[in-house]
Amino acid sequence: MSVVKADLGRISLSRLGLFKFLDRISSKPATRYLTYSVAVIFFFALILIPPILGILFKLNQVGQVFGNPLLQSRALAAVSASFEIALFVSLIDVVAGLPLAWFIARSKSKWLNFLDTLVDIPFILPTVALGYSLLLFWSQPGGVSSLFGASLISPGWLLVILLHFVFSFPIIVRVMVGALLDYHIVYEEASRTLGAPALTADRTVTLSILKPSLVSSFILAFARSISETGATLMVAGAFENGPVFISNALTEKLGEGPLVFVSFILIAVSFIIFAVITALGPRLKLPTKKVWPSFERRLSGSNIAVSRNTVMLVIFFLIVLLPSLFVALPAVYAVSNGTLSQALSRTGIWQGYWQSLLLSYFVGALVMLINTLIGLPMAVLIARRRAGALPSTALDVLVNIPLIVPSIALGVSMKFFWSNFAFIPEIVILIFAHISITYPYFVRAMASAIERIGMDLEEASRILGARPFTLFRTIILPLTKYSLFAGALLVFTRSVDETGATSAVVSTLKTAPILIVDWVNPRGTPTATASQIGLGIGFLVILSFAVLLVMRLVVRGKERKY
């Protein structure tokens, strides 16, 4: 009966003529050009050009820094700390993440699904939640510090490194597990039959073949470390990296000079590093020529493997998972000490909190909607090389830029640009900034999903009579809807989570993560209690999970109809 109803629903939609209309206009070349042109113009006009022009217009302000040696050395120290930490953390991520990825991809235990999910937790949690959680765990009474009397790790560079490790580690694991699962194990088997011990086979064959995934996961981890602002601010103490410096410069009202100086260097160096890794990555030779058979054979033994896996799991649980989840304690305590009822009655600081939360979700939802609509044609353009080989490749590279540029630097540049248009309200600039930062997540996810669909399916559909819109509706969309969902969700969570660009572009509005950073007030005494901060983070996390769950159910509902 329900099937009949669903069919009737579909027929009535067709009868309305909407599909027919879209179908008819979709086969007209003008429609195609218009759709793609709008997507490309949107990308250049709103995402790529404003930050570039914004920073270039203000380059003359840099003189302010050169005239102040103290400020200059402080700014340079902050910038170099950013890159040193990002590089160090990404390397440690690879060293620690690879064995865990291997363990998850290759072991057959039924507990692995559980472990696999646990690995994602630091990735799903907003970074401000992670920052506060780590702060509580390592530095404040009530955390692991209480076992040692005083604060075990005070806010500073070490805690920043621990924080960046925690949130970038799951990226390496996630990407490498995927790569290992896609990898044809027959190469490894061939290597074993030719006499290579397990470790030699992994090193000389598997790792070499998986090098592109390794490089791209490294870039992602690196970019995430360079970009993160809010949580870093919480745990940095007196230490400054690039984003912390910009944030401090904003609150200390140091003027535009230092902002332009640091943002420009961060953007330029990130871009150069990305370009160098992209260009040299394929040529990068892993050390596969030399082999040490007896040594590697000993390291391939099952005892060594068990010890390696144990050490790695202990590191994961003690350094990554436990500190990430520690914020749950004050959140649970808030339920019993009356903080929850205060929060629900919207008294005191909670009034502002709920407004901020609403603002965060509103911006997140709108940005998700806009990027989905405008990112789809761009994804098709890139995946199917519709703009010709060279322009498509150029677009493919260009859409990554917001991903690799530190978000606070991007925010600073955008603020410079859009402040020229005084009539544009702050919330619109905030939305523009979030669109910029989250755009690559959607386009990347969709483009690679569309690339995976063989051209033969499209050709078969067209030969059977489907016009472009029907082809998209009946073939591309059903086959890519999970990537569409994943891409849209990434946009939403990244937007809700964002602190760097947000702190740069807003002066009156406060999104939830910015408000939480204010509560923690890293440079002074907290303006809220641990219970309040814990509960505030708790609401943010729970609501984000609820949105995720609802979206999953919506996608499933659609799946049943097919």
Partner: protein, 369 residues
């Protein structure tokens, strides 16, 4: 010297629900070219991977050179393995692939280079040393895969459908090349294939497998001339299968009654009177004459369809008892017959096989999977 013994080996997948290899025992002799033949999913590749050590048996033992190797990792079994997809390392050139074995065993560089050169010259690809796998044709990749498998000095070569991905013509050429190589180098080879003509052409002995079990082991001639099971008679070569009953058993022969009370004489005398049986006759063993003739084991019919196959002509003949039989005749020998023409089909009693009627029915017994 490499001989391989497989004793009562069982391998299950999917939490024991799928029995890929079911209590198999085999003995592959030194310097023998041995084939595992069967339809896809019969367990032949699983058995080969068990021998290579890429997977471990649930039960039973595997011996290479008389040594129990159940717990020996693949790198220490001294086998060469040619994969169906070749598995040439895409990030290494031909030279890198072929010298990989000596390299990971840390052999002396000079020795590795010498072996690499010899192996590539043997497969006539030395001049393509610098090429990457994706720049080679299918046939070349296959030859590099063989050279690589042998470069580590193995005397036991395991080949998993090594010709499966090649064009028909190249497949024909390469199968003899591989066999000659194996014989020249005095290797032992175990070759997995689903192509019976390939197995027949190159093997010293063949094991026919179905549903994880070995049905029969023998030389190509033995399997063709004396199949022990209906499936073997059908899979190795081709056969007509006619259902009937044993109506008399004499000292030298038996008489079967087929459908339509058609009686024929066969040499088999091991079946009991009244037993339901299946008579198998190869299409090339059937005689064909125009008109209705009174000859031994004559079966009258009419040509229903004719297919020209090049070397042979294939006639499908509807017998008077409604059974359908296929007869093949060499195209260039004797006269041709026409569709609808009345013919007499006959066979010599010594060129037929009689099997017990299978408990699950004839159709099920003939199914490949």
């Amino acid at each position: 010297m490499p001989e391989v013994k497989v004793e009562n080996v069982t391998k299950k997948f999917g939490k024991g629900k799928i029995v890929a290899v079911d209590n198999v025992s085999l003995h592959v002799k030194d310097k023998e070219y041995f084939s595992l033949l069967g339809p896809s999913g019969c367990g032949k590749t699983t058995l080969l991977r068990l021998i290579a050590g890429l997977i471990q048996p649930d039960e039973g033992n595997i011996y290479i050179d008389g040594k129990l190797v159940n717990n020996v990792p693949p790198e220490d079994r001294g086998v060469g393995f040619v994969f169906q997809t070749y598995a040439l390392f895409p990030h290494m050139d031909v030279w890198g692939n072929v010298t990989y074995g000596p390299r990971v065993k840390a052999w002396d560089t000079q020795q590795s280079n010498k072996i690499g050169r010899e192996m590539l010259e043997m497969v006539r690809l030395f001049e393509r040393s610098k090429a990457f796998p994706q720049e080679l044709s299918g046939g070349m990749m296959q030859r590099v895969a063989v050279a690589r498998a042998l470069s580590a000095g193995s005397k036991l070569l395991l080949l998993d459908e090594p010709l499966g991905a090649l064009d028909a013509k190249i497949r024909l050429e390469l199968r003899y090349d591989i066999q000659k190589l194996v014989k020249d180098l005095e290797l032992t080879a175990i070759h997995v294939t689903h192509d019976q003509s390939e197995a027949m052409a190159i093997s010293d002995r063949i094991a026919v497998m179905r549903k994880g079990r070995v049905l029969q082991v023998g030389t190509p001639q033995e399997l063709y001339m004396n199949p022990q099971e209906i499936f073997v008679a059908n899979f190795v070569g081709e056969a007509n299968f006619l259902e009937g009953y044993v109506v008399s058993v004499n000292e030298n022969e038996s008489v079967l009654e087929l459908r339509g009370k058609l009686r024929v004489k066969v040499l088999d005398k091991n079946k009991s009177l009244g037993e339901k049986v299946v008579l198998a006759i190869r299409p090339e063993a059937l005689e064909l004459e125009k008109g209705h003739k009174k000859v031994e084991n004559a079966m009258l019919g009419r040509i229903e369809r004719l297919r020209f196959e090049g070397t042979n002509i294939r006639y499908e003949i509807r017998l008077e008892n409604e059974d359908l039989v296929v007869v093949t005749r060499p195209t260039l020998v004797g006269e041709w017959f026409n569709v609808n023409e009345k013919v007499t089909v006959s066979f010599s009693p010594d060129k037929s096989f009689v099997f017990m009627y299978p408990s699950k029915g004839l159709r099920e017994e003939l199914m490949a999977e």
